[in-house]
């Protein structure tokens, strides 16, 4: 059913393919993980680890965020999406770029194909930025959530450009310092600038909405925004030009920003009118709890703590895992089932509401599968982290199996939603007009 022309909501062919691609990327990620148990015993600069990170960051997380954002942006900003065509083209470039980049890293081919992949990704980020910024310009009112979202899009582009420069540096070697130095920059702009700011911006709007709570004030979000961006900017300048030992100080700024957001969520949730939490919200709060691990580890990786080399390498790996396979994956696994069912329901039933007895969004997917998805995820994650810390390939493999089960359950539910067909509806009968 086509949406009414007056709706701010974009067409379903703009949004839904992102969810489909992301689910399949998550399956691919967990299968690659099964074949990468040997990669977790040394330095993080390893072809297989680079593949896993980029499939997780681009194919899984960024892809899903793009799709969800095209749907949510009009709701948050109260206006139409600037261009559905741009969104579709960006989807193509992001998809192709991700697949090519993953292939290049896995086989460690650093030539022209990788150049094409990196360019394709940067083009996708530019188009995404144009779409987000132009949409924001149409918005009747400007809020702190808009600040978070627009800023995060800009950081995404910066991350992509740094990545492109590094890809060119593989073959031309023009950068002054060793490669991993820039990898740290690239990774942290991506993690704190793109993912963290975006999740806070969207989460501060959605989490209260799903809890039927309301924010008393957004002052804490302003603090959160300023602290995280300040920490990130200081870090970039220091890392590029000054090389001081102040990195933990910048980490403190970012962590304070995260805590400020947490306090905002806590205070807001005190006003909630819903006290029962569904599986999607439980998983979301699990994700927020999992954020504590990278918050602790960031101080170890940013300070010169004297740890045995083997353990330090493991901590670096766990730090990365705790961000991409921990916090970000967990929150996607939860929020997918708070957003996608509603989107599918809206497109399928909006014209029938009130005229027919329609099912509700929560009736469109399988809750038992979702429950087992949540369990197997947590299991897989804990085993993987334990396996990496103990440098034990069997435990890492068990963790990868947990992730594989999770990804298959998740994908089964997502495709059940995507392929939903409008059922036979029974009209309401009114008063004596009934048969």
């Amino acid at each position: 059913m086509s949406t009414a022309t007056t709706s701010n909501s974009p067409g379903k062919w703009v949004v839904l393919p992102h969810y489909a691609f992301a689910a399949l990327a998550f399956v691919a990620l967990s299968i690659l993980l099964l074949f990468s148990t040997d990669a977790f015993s040394g330095h993080y600069f390893h072809p297989k680890l680079l593949t896993l990170t980029h499939v997780a960051a681009l194919g899984w997380a960024t892809m899903l965020i793009f799709g969800a954002l095209y749907q949510l942006l009009p709701v948050v900003l109260d206006c139409k999406l600037y261009s559905e065509k741009l969104a579709t083209i960006a989807f193509g470039f992001l998809g192709i770029g991700t697949i090519l980049l993953a292939w290049c890293f896995w086989n460690f081919e650093l030539g022209h194909v990788m150049h094409i992949a990196a360019c394709s990704l940067v083009i996708s980020f530019i188009l995404f930025n144009i779409n987000v910024i132009q949409t924001a310009r149409l918005a009747p009112k400007w809020t702190i959530e808009s600040d978070f979202i627009v800023t995060s899009a800009i950081w995404l582009l910066v991350t992509g450009i740094v990545g492109l420069i590094m890809v060119l540096n593989f073959t031309m070697a023009f950068l002054p310092v060793e490669h991993t130095h820039y990898l740290k920059l690239h990774a942290h702009i991506g993690m704190a600038g793109w993912f963290l700011l975006l999740i806070i911006g969207v989460g501060s709007k959605l989490i209260p909405m799903f809890l039927l709570a309301h924010a008393e004030s957004t002052k804490k979000l302003n603090w959160s925004y300023n602290l995280i961006n300040a920490g990130l900017v200081f870090f970039i300048f220091d890392h590029l030009f000054f090389h001081t030992a102040l990195l933990p100080v910048y980490a403190v700024l970012v962590v304070a920003g995260i805590l400020s957001f947490m306090v905002f969520i806590y205070e807001t949730s005190k006003t909630r009118q819903r006290h029962d939490m569904d599986l999607g919200m439980k998983q979301t709060f699990v994700a927020l709890a999992l954020l504590l691990l990278p918050i602790v580890l960031v101080f170890i990786v940013s300070s010169q703590v004297a740890l045995p080399q083997q353990l330090l390498s493991a901590v670096y790996l766990v730090y990365g895992i705790s961000v991409f396979l921990g916090f970000i994956s967990a929150i996607i696994l939860g929020q997918t089932f708070k957003t996608l069912p509603f989107i599918v329901w809206m497109h399928a039933y909006e014209d029938y509401v009130g005229r027919f007895k329609t099912p509700l969004p929560k009736d469109l997917y399988n809750h038992a599968i979702q429950r087992w998805q949540n369990y197997s995820y947590l299991f897989g994650y804990l085993l993987l982290v334990t396996g990496v810390l103990l440098n034990n390939q069997q435990i890492i493999l068990a963790g990868a199996i947990g992730f594989t089960i999770t990804s298959l359950l998740y994908t089964a539910n997502v495709f059940q939603l995507l392929l939903h067909k409008v059922q036979e509806l029974k009209p309401f009968s009114y008063g004596n007009a009934s048969v």
Binding site: M1, S2, T6, S7, S9, F342, P361, N432
Partner: protein, 277 residues
């Protein structure tokens, strides 16, 4: 009960079941209303004006028949600023097939016969809507029915479809729908709630207001509840909704169903909506 041209037949029947017989006695056409199946399908989607046109009689005829039952006709609705959807009237109905249809090859016309469904008591609405989704840009859909599908025409006109009805006889009507490539580039407009007039409109309904609070409901329950309430909202009454925010997804639905809305921002977490015909 006050009635007007845009009163739904279902509202009449709900108020007083005797209305069925009264309307059925207008002319042979309305005998169909005695069939409970047809009544179920049509009554909640057809207004007095639509019915009069389908049956080829005057609205006044309806008032005449209904007044003895205690219905009061009020034809002076000055409050409603929104123009009702203008339907073809029998006088302006063209007997000649529009040029677009005439040049369309037969294989581009998808026919859907719903007489069977109507006769056996299945509501063909869903079937038709699915067929409409499937016709694409270069085809036309032909609905074969026992009466002119007025409610359907209203919905599809909103969606930018052109239509042409060809009345074969009293029990056979062919209705064609197609996407008019020439006219669908009208600028898309979002429904613009009038904010300043909230209190004036509220006063205009003088207490005839049904009030619901949807703040403690989870998405999409507010929308489901509001649209459900509107289906059974008596004519001349308004629905007063206490909501947390301006409901983005509801606005297009209200417009499609011919409702007006005024909005009052009460605070950062409360907006009051007044929805009326």
């Amino acid at each position: 009960m006050q009635i007007a041209a845009n009163t739904k037949i279902s509202a009449l029947i709900k108020e007083n079941p005797a209305a069925i017989d009264a309307i059925a006695s207008i002319n042979r056409y309305f005998e169909k209303l005695r069939n409970p199946v047809l009544r179920k399908i049509l009554a909640s989607r057809v207004t007095i004006a639509d019915a009069a046109r389908i049956g080829g009689c005057d609205i006044e005829k309806f008032y005449e028949k209904l007044e003895p039952l205690g219905f009061i006709a009020s034809e002076s609705k000055t409050r409603n600023t929104k123009k009702p959807i203008i339907m073809q009237t029998p006088e302006t109905q063209t007997k000649t097939m529009p040029a677009y249809l005439a040049q369309l090859p037969a294989q581009h016309i998808v026919a859907l016969d719903v007489c069977e469904d109507i006769a056996s008591g299945n509501d063909p609405f869903l079937k038709i809507m699915n067929a409409v989704d499937g016709i694409g840009e270069n085809n036309a859909l032909l609905i074969i029915n026992t009466f002119e599908p007025t409610p359907l025409i209203a919905i599809l006109k909103k969606k930018g479809y052109s239509f042409w009805t060809d009345v074969k006889n009293a029990n056979l009507v062919h209705t064609y729908f197609w996407k008019d490539a020439g006219t669908n580039n009208a600028p898309e407009q979002t429904i613009k709630p009038e904010t300043g007039s909230f209190d004036d409109v509220l006063a205009g309904f003088a207490g005839k207001v049904r009030r619901i609070d949807v703040r403690a409901m989870e998405m999409p329950q507010p929308m489901v509840t509001i649209l459900g309430e509107l289906e059974i909202l008596p004519q001349q009454e308004a629905l007063y909704v206490v909501h947390k925010r301006v409901p983005q997804f509801l606005l297009p639905q209200l417009e499609e169903r011919g409702f007006n809305i005024t909005i009052k921002e009460v605070g950062p977490n409360q907006v009051d909506l007044l929805i009326y015909k």
